[in-house]
Symmetry: C2
Amino acid sequence: MGEGNGSDRAVVAGIREAILTGEFVPNQRLVEADLSERFAASRARVRAALLELTNEGLVERVQNRGARVRAVRLEEAIEISEVRMVLEGLCAAKAATRITEAESEELERIGENMREAVASGDVLGYSRLNERLHRRVREISGQHTAATVLERLRAQNVRHQFRLAMHPGRPTVSLPEHLAIIDAIRAHDAEAAEAAARAHLRSVIRTLPEAARRPAEPA
Amino acid sequence: MGEGNGSDRAVVAGIREAILTGEFVPNQRLVEADLSERFAASRARVRAALLELTNEGLVERVQNRGARVRAVRLEEAIEISEVRMVLEGLCAAKAATRITEAESEELERIGENMREAVASGDVLGYSRLNERLHRRVREISGQHTAATVLERLRAQNVRHQFRLAMHPGRPTVSLPEHLAIIDAIRAHDAEAAEAAARAHLRSVIRTLPEAARRPAEPA
DNA sequence: ACCGACGAAATTGGTGACAATCTCGGTGGT
DNA sequence: ACCACCGAGATTGTCACCAATTTCGTCGGT
């Protein structure tokens, strides 16, 4: 896709990282001068970076009032997840038709590691595998457009995603869903892969409201 | 969603309009000084506008080499249409569950007008109704996130969309598809609505390569 | 005639200063 | 005690200018 300025990328990446790790919390003001100092960049660059992050949906800007970290409400998180549902379904289906032998073995390994992580109660490890699985499916699908949109939406939902991962008993529910996706893709069954991916996201959407009720903040 | 600067909007809208109407053709260079004069705006504003349009996927920028209108290749147009397929499916399904009586009658009228346009060979009128139908379905669905993504993708594909509309015999093929979408939504049948929307987009994707072979330029 | 080096013109990138606007605490009147 | 007003400080928006880079025509050498 269209790349902005090369030097800008560092600032964009830095601010995005800070938002995604939770260092910058929702509704926190993002003052251009402060960011300029922190990232050792000119104000113009910070400005451009905020513009870009606004388009990505991570930042909200108001005329003459500056930028703040966008707070995604539960209702919106559900909408985003509904879009993810159909897009991940598309990617899973395409991945099923394109997957190579090497990639198939990689997915198998991810599945095995997930099983182990859940068995040993390694929530963080499972969360990482989760993200890796979804990313690999996107990549294998070869759907560049869908992948770009999905990454963007995933970033917007990171906070809700985190709460979900911390929801008690969640891994036990999602593990079989993930394994079903892996199996269908490895079997080159596009229809089943799409159905499995959708079922998984449907389960996420169902759980989102519960998870939102318990406050849980990242480090 | 996040709004940029209010004053910038005019320049952004102006450039976008020029690209969408085909006045600015793909790969045409967008020189900041020229745009600055044309839209009576400072270069800084033009610069910000180009940044935003880059994020929208309408413009491509290269470091120190300026901006040009992004050319969407056929392969990419197909990918975009595949994403549209699942998203329009989602919107159609949601619209089926939410549509009101008044909206139902509006869709019926649009369907009637489409029939008449095709019968009288009014290609342009049919094209406008086509766009209106898709937009109304998005609105009725209440899926703000999906609608935003769809509008963006539709803008990127405008050139291919135009070629498609000019493809001989195309309206005769797409009319029943559109009517099927309308009927399913009006019948509150979410599953059928999604299937109809997908079938329609699948038909678009099938025709895209043929339409791309015949050159056809907008006014 | 071909090819690479060179330099002028065009274009973009960056910076600093200034203007416009908003926020927030205080002040005076009722 | 309450409220409208207002002014200082903070923050964003805008602009003009200069530096850096690319582009392209020209020139000299082979």
